[in-house]
């Protein structure tokens, strides 16, 4: 596409079908501790590449 470049991203709709495993790090967006936001998590699901 000439005017549009699409970055490679995880497909959220696909992830809805697979379901969550709940293994990823707990995230806190607030100021006072490890302060990890949702977006900077790593997925820990085993069948995920």
């Amino acid at each position: 596409m000439k005017r549009i470049q699409t970055l490679e991203t995880k497909n959220l709709c696909e992830s809805a079908k697979k379901g969550g495993c709940g293994e990823c790090q707990t995230s806190c967006q607030s100021a006072c501790k490890t302060s990890c936001g949702i977006a900077n998590q790593k997925c820990e699901k085993k069948d995920e590449r």
């Binding site: 005017r3 959220l12 707990t26 607030s30 100021a31 490890t34 990890c36 977006a39």
Partner: protein, 461 residues
Amino acid sequence: MVHQYKLNGYHIVLDTCSGSVHAVDEVAYDIIGLYEEKTEEEITAQILEKYRGREDVTREEIRLCLADVAKLKQQGKLFTPDTYAPLANEFKERSGNVVKALCLHVAHTCNLNCAYCFASQGKYHGERALMSFETGKRALDFLIEHSGSRTNLEVDFFGGEPLMNWEVVKQLVLYARSVEKEHRKNFRFTLTTNGMLIDDDVIDFANREMSNVVLSLDGRKEVHDRLRVDYAGNGSFDRIVPKFQKLVAARGGKNYYMRGTFTHQNPDFTRDIDEMLRLGFTELSMEPVVCAPADPAALTQEDLTVVLKEYELLAQKMLDAKREGKEFTFYHYMIDLTKGPCIYKRISGCGSGTEYMAVTPWGDLYPCHQFVGEEKYKLGDIWNGISNHGAQEEFCACNAYTRKECEDCWAKLYCSGGCAANAYHAAGSVSGIYAAGCELFKKRMECAVMLQVADALPRQE
């Protein structure tokens, strides 16, 4: 939902429900902006008018671009409808009463007397106290018992100042390590410290056992020393910086974070980031202060305007640094577009009061560290479990789809509906929002995605 913005010379289009990110030119940017509202004829006319005289903007060019947009939509990468609301409840039900992370308040006391401390010098508006080994051990057992099939369990050593109860911290780590295999668990420990008591033993043990260490430093000496003082009123900068440097040097690349707080006195926090870099630290985080609006440290409306600009400036600095081979990390700009969390995590957020709880020195359970001391949110204790089901329900119900303010917000799948504690303090209810925080959050996400775009594309501007 589609969110479009321009930053640092890039035209960026986010399709939030599919998670897609598009970097486009200005023509496509405008076309996408009109696509759902106008007919193709109307769009063509409007674009031709706007770009009159531009050779590359012809009827045929516009037709091609419209076709590309249609194709992306068909592929589920643009204008993806929001169909996740039903998942929000399903996920909570499915995760049941699993607890997978605890914040252990091993020391409700502190050797510093920081003016802005949300925990009121570690006491959380209560008595000074240290957690006993027995209580901590019971908390770890509680975690194992309630963790269901989860393997990775997280424990934060928090305070007050956790190093004031260091022997207990070490014993608890050793205890957890001695039982994790038989229960098929994997403990991940983190430590948040002000640095005053760091010594070789702490460095050695923390670097071996803690998967992350959070070190509190506010940046410039004059900024740091104004608020982060000891009980005699003396600044702590000169005492802690060499200790932090030693710890980080010995850490051998393992995760750590330098985290600072910015307040009314330093909304221009990128200058504090500069200082952290100058001191040799590269994993950085600066956070807005958490305090009552009447507090002198609280950020004013004007400060917030400055802060928004600072976030952009910071992103620019990071790009420059990277080009010069002096890369550094800002916590809130770390976003993993390809391997980040699934939609379930994006909807359900921090898990405070459900999968994550805080434990006081005497074993009471609270929804998270920021609720400790709020009596009505005391959930129960580590011996008898949860007794305050009403309060827990409130937290269970928190997700990206609970708040009406979030309904039309493009950021909801990045923020999950925000921080319940911020909402509680700003709006008086955990199911409210902290509007000023939303603005900062959205700006941070825009910057984070822009950095990804800059990485993926050749230089524009």
